[in-house]
């Protein structure tokens, strides 16, 4: 029996949530520090064992053969550490933001941070789970608190939007559950590794494989919000309280790809091989749609939300191309998007906090008032566009190298359609992303100074520090990405080569 | 001897069900329920007495007595309720008790 390290990192936030709720009445605003301390502890635990990977297992319902396990390997390390670091940093950022949002209502801080901890624990549990049922439980655990957070502290028609968010993702999760029960019925086990081994050794009829795989992938794609299943995302991400947007978009939706890579791809490799091209076309359309919609937005947070759809399209493209390099690129994009998009959402929170608006047309010329924020925002947008030496550059480079590799792979000659799709994606994606990014920077931070910008100045240091941490991380990982690639690539090689 | 009694009991059940659905007077509905219970009692007693010739089983007879006494309890509660209904509504016609939509 190994030391209980990972279970602590998930359970301590859950167990301390009621405590935080109760202390919220006494500590009011300062309860944020407590949440920060708890999440730092979890982050430290995860980072401490992420060098070599770690696995724990506890019996849960022996009668049904279900166990609770936590596993940190090359695939879950980037996801888990991204979630842990983002949530820790954003816990600090939330304090001044919530003060701005709710004022001096001590009860609100308690419930906000209690829900926040549950939400984070849900995300951590999802990426660490080793059992399908356990995975599903955590997958839903991240839904409930985020629903309440949006419905209670969001903007605009927050209740309707939260309800829409809940219904979309819950239906998606139920479809996922249906596929899990089918998998259980086929293999008789719910452990992820067990199912993978059974499916590899037994082999099932291809039609059945397609049915189960489609159900499972749809379940994940709703959470990811690819084109066609994305209706809820722009609303939810734009109207959620900004710290929560900064977790929803960079951390949560990408977890869907973790599910696809870990489960769908691991269980049903044949499905992906057969339908690789249609999926790649779907990904291409998602990228274009997200980018074009982002170009036409006037609301900063809606723009970022559409940009997330586009970025998820990048990851989709990487996964759909099904080569080691392109999937590696997808995971790098997840990290880079996580860091940069969190930075950008926090910047939009700063704009709400300082200038009192998030309409781009009402902003302008902020660079002279808040130079540090401007620099960080530029780093964020450049990271999305994939400009070296930021991490996004490596992600995009790898995805496109991988797609070219897949184009060249067929021995009989060049796959023309695939070639055209790849070239179109490469050119249009980069252009669109750089286009909306730089144009937004220009409209918000440069040009003539607007009325809203006159009054504003640099935000309090508690809001600024988290941004700087993440921006610096994005640069460091961009300069030295090898550390990540060494961890991630063996797992993906195992995944692809075994099929 | 068995068949005529069974037929009589079935007839009673039919009468009770008819009364149950056609009568709107609360006391008459309670009487229908009483008839229904008594039809069942007759069946039980008959089967207990005639099923095996020359031998009367005791448990069914006790079940009949139990059922008679429980019917008394039900009737008592029902009459108390009817009194309460009369106090609140000033009538014992079930058609006037239409505030609940069920």
């Amino acid at each position: 029996m190994s030391l209980p390290i990972l279970i602590q990192s998930v359970l301590i936030p859950i167990l301390s949530a009621p405590l935080v709720y109760m202390l919220g009445r006494k500590l009011s605003y300062n309860v944020g520090w407590l949440a920060f301390a708890i999440l730092s502890y979890s982050t430290a635990l995860i980072l401490a064992v992420s060098g070599a990977g770690y696995i724990e297992s506890y019996p849960w319902i022996p009668g049904m053969g279900w166990s609770i396990g936590f596993k940190l390997d090359g695939l879950s390390i980037p996801f888990a550490s991204n979630v842990a670091i983002l949530s820790t940093v954003i816990a600090i950022y939330s304090m001044p933001y919530m003060k701005h949002r709710v004022g001096d209502e001590p009860e609100d801080y308690g419930s906000y941070y209690a829900l926040y901890l549950l939400y984070v624990a849900g995300m951590l549990g999802t990426v660490l789970a080793t059992d399908l049922i356990e995975f599903y439980i955590f997958y839903e655990l991240m839904l409930i608190p985020s629903y309440i957070l949006i419905a209670r502290w969001g903007y605009g028609e927050r209740e309707r939007i939260a309800f829409m968010y809940f219904l979309w993702t819950h239906v998606g999760a139920l479809i996922l559950l249906a596929s899990i029960t089918l998998v259980y019925w086929i293999t008789g086990t719910t452990s992820i590794e067990g199912v993978k081994a059974m499916l590899r050794s037994v082999g099932i009829p291809f039609t059945l494989e397609v049915g189960v795989a489609v159900a499972m992938i749809i379940g994940f794609l709703v959470k990811i919000a690819v084109l066609g299943l994305h209706i809820w995302l722009p609303h939810a991400h734009a109207e959620a309280p900004t710290p929560i947007s900064a977790l929803l978009s960079p951390a949560m939706i990408g977890i869907g790809w973790y599910g696809v890579i870990r489960m769908a791809l691991g269980f049903f490799p044949r499905f992906f091989q057969v339908y690789s091209l249609p999926l790649a076309v779907w990904a291409f359309l998602t990228i274009i749609y997200g980018g074009l919609m982002a170009l036409s937005q006037d609301d900063m947070k809606r723009l970022l939300a559409y940009s997330s759809i586009s970025q998820m399209g990048y990851m989709f493209f990487g996964v759909a191309n099904l080569s080691i390099v392109s999937i590696l690129g997808s995971i790098l994009i997840y990290l880079s998007h996580g860091l940069c998009k969190a930075v950008l959402f926090m910047v939009s929170g700063i704009l709400i906090h300082e200038a009192g608006t998030r309409r781009i047309s009402e902003l302008g010329g902020l660079a002279s008032r808040m130079p540090i924020t401007t620099i960080v925002a530029i780093i964020g947008f450049l990271g999305l566009a994939g400009v070296p030496p930021l991490l996004g550059f490596w992600g995009e480079l790898y995805i496109f190298l991988g797609s070219i590799y897949t184009v060249l792979k067929p021995i009989g000659g060049l796959d023309t359609i695939r070639f055209i799709v790849s070239i179109l994606t490469v050119t249009s994606a980069v252009t669109l992303t750089a286009g909306y990014g730089l144009w937004t920077v220009k409209r918000v931070f440069f040009e003539e100074i607007s009325k809203a910008a006159e009054e504003s100045h640099e935000p309090p240091s508690l809001m600024l520090a988290p941004l700087l941490v993440l921006a610096v991380l994005a640069i460091i990982l961009g300069i030295y990405p090898t550390i990540l690639m060494n961890i991630v690539s063996p797992v993906i090689e195992g995944l692809i080569l075994a099929s | 001897m068995l068949e005529p009694i069974i037929l009589c009991s079935v007839a009673l059940i039919a009468v009770a069900l008819y009364g149950f659905y056609s009568k709107k007077h609360m006391i008459k509905m309670i009487i229908s329920i009483e008839i229904l219970i008594n039809a069942a009692n007759i069946l039980i007693v008959t089967f207990g007495a005639y099923r095996v010739p020359g031998y009367v089983e005791l448990l069914p007879q006790s079940l009949a007595i139990l059922s008679i006494s429980s019917a008394g309890g039900v009737t008592a509660v029902a009459l108390a309720l009817i009194l309460a209904v009369y106090r609140v509504y000033g009538t014992v016609d079930v058609r006037k008790l239409r505030r609940l939509r069920g």
Binding site: I133 | S9, L43, L66
Partner: protein, 437 residues
């Protein structure tokens, strides 16, 4: 398995096997919680000595029903339970609603018991004994399947149990009686008493095993009808307790469906859901009662946002709502998942799809209720309210703790449910004491 007196076809007797234990446990737990809760909820009423007597009699009746070994004992306790519940529903007899609902309940339910009694009589006529095990032995001959008398008797029994369990179309008393009763009684009625009807239906598996095939068919049709009626009408309700009452009907539909599949896995899943629903619905009715106690209203639009004034009650209410909505980590999820598993195991894909649709519909209205009670700003004309008294909170905390605990660690309860599911189908060991002499 406990049999008392040891072996007898002639005496009245108790047989307590795992199935009975699985029903007795929730009866006692909800009974305990609602008695504690009553101490402050009923403090403004008079006639409390008879209230607590009736409450105890009702709990006694329910326990007797599920541990009876023959129809004599069964009917005795059935009547004790029924009569005390009539009186309890109409306990606040000076208001129009309890009186009207109580009368409706009394008429339907006592007609049901009378029909059940006729059914018992006919079965006695066929089998020659009132003892369950004896009946099981006597009806083993396959020729009985087409016996019209047996069919008639079984339809009488189905109506009798169905009225108590509120299976559609015999459910019309429930949405009136459960809201009208005092809240601790509602939580007992909805949480456990309707389950005695389910228990009766479950015992058919031992009593009439030649009829398995027809039996599953009939039950599953009734079950789907019940869950659709319950869920669809629950969406239209504006009264908290009426909404919960309709949701009970839907939940009975899920349980009945699980029983209709008739495998060990499905029956244990259904039994687990019986247990879980007792905890959740008991909690929900008590929380709704606490809101009613504080404001004097059950109208959802008046109660909007009250969860932000009565924090503790609100949180407990939310736990109940999330649990019954089948959110993972709470107990409702586990049993609903197991029902789905069991039905997929038997390759009932269409039925599973209908079931999942129903779960989805129900999530919508539970969540909307949660949103309105907990998240909205309180109405400006909401009267000043205080947190519920300690003993009411204590009653709710007992059940809420169980909801969470079972959700987090269901292993023990699942293995118990599996034993119960086996016992429900194991005719051999059920009749063994009789055969052994």
């Amino acid at each position: 398995m406990l049999v008392y007196p040891a072996s007898s076809l002639l005496h009245s007797s108790f047989i307590v096997d795992m199935v009975s234990v699985f029903f007795i446990l929730p009866i006692l737990l909800v009974g305990l919680a609602s008695s504690i809760y009553s101490t402050s909820y009923m403090s403004r009423d008079t006639g409390l000595n008879s209230y607590y007597t009736l409450l105890s009699a009702m709990i006694l009746g329910m326990i007797g029903v599920v541990s009876a070994g023959d129809f004599f004992t069964f009917f005795l306790f059935w009547e004790i339970m029924s009569i005390s519940s009539y009186a309890l529903v109409a306990f606040r007899k000076d208001r129009w609603e309890p009186v009207e609902a109580g009368f409706k309940y009394l008429v339907m339910s006592s007609a049901g018991s009378a029909l059940m009694l006729s059914g018992i009589a006919i079965i006695y006529g066929i089998a020659g004994t009132l003892n369950f095990a004896g009946i099981a032995l006597a009806t083993r001959t396959p020729t009985l399947v087409s016996d019209p008398w047996l069919i008639l008797a079984i339809s009488f029994l189905i109506v009798g149990f169905g009225i108590k369990a509120a299976i559609a179309p015999m459910h019309t008393w429930l949405p009136d009686a459960h809201p009208a009763a005092p809240s601790p009684i509602s939580s007992l009625l909805s949480g456990v008493m309707i389950k005695t009807g389910v228990y009766g239906l479950l015992r058919f598996y031992i009593l009439f095993q030649p009829l398995y095939a027809y039996w599953g068919m009939t039950l599953s049709i009734l079950a789907f009808f019940t869950m659709f009626i319950g869920n669809l009408t629950a969406m239209l309700q504006t009264d908290v307790k009426r909404l919960l009452a309709y949701s009970s009907i839907a939940q009975i539909g899920y349980v009945t469906f699980a029983l209709s599949i008739g495998t060990v896995q499905s029956i244990s899943a259904g039994l687990l859901h019986v247990f879980n629903h007792a905890m959740m619905k008991g909690l929900l009715f008590m929380a709704a009662g606490a809101l009613y106690h504080a404001t004097g209203s059950r109208d959802i639009s008046i109660l909007e946002g009250i969860g932000r004034r009565m924090k503790l009650t609100g949180v407990l209410f939310s736990i109940g709502l999330l649990a019954i909505a089948g959110i993972p980590g709470l107990n409702g999820f586990i049993s609903e998942l197991l029902i789905i598993f069991a039905s997929i195991r038997c390759e009932l894909y269409l039925q599973t799809a209908i079931l999942i649709t129903n779960f989805l519909i129900s999530v919508a209205y539970y969540l909307r209720l949660l949103q309105r009670i907990m998240l909205r700003e309180p109405r400006s004309d909401l009267p000043e309210v205080e947190e519920a008294p300690a003993s009411m909170i204590a009653g709710m905390v007992i059940l809420a703790t169980l909801c969470v605990a079972i959700g987090v660690y269901p292993g023990l309860l699942i293995s118990m449910a599996e034993l119960a599911g086996r016992a429900a189908l194991d005719i051999g060991s059920y009749v063994a004491p009789i055969l052994g002499g």
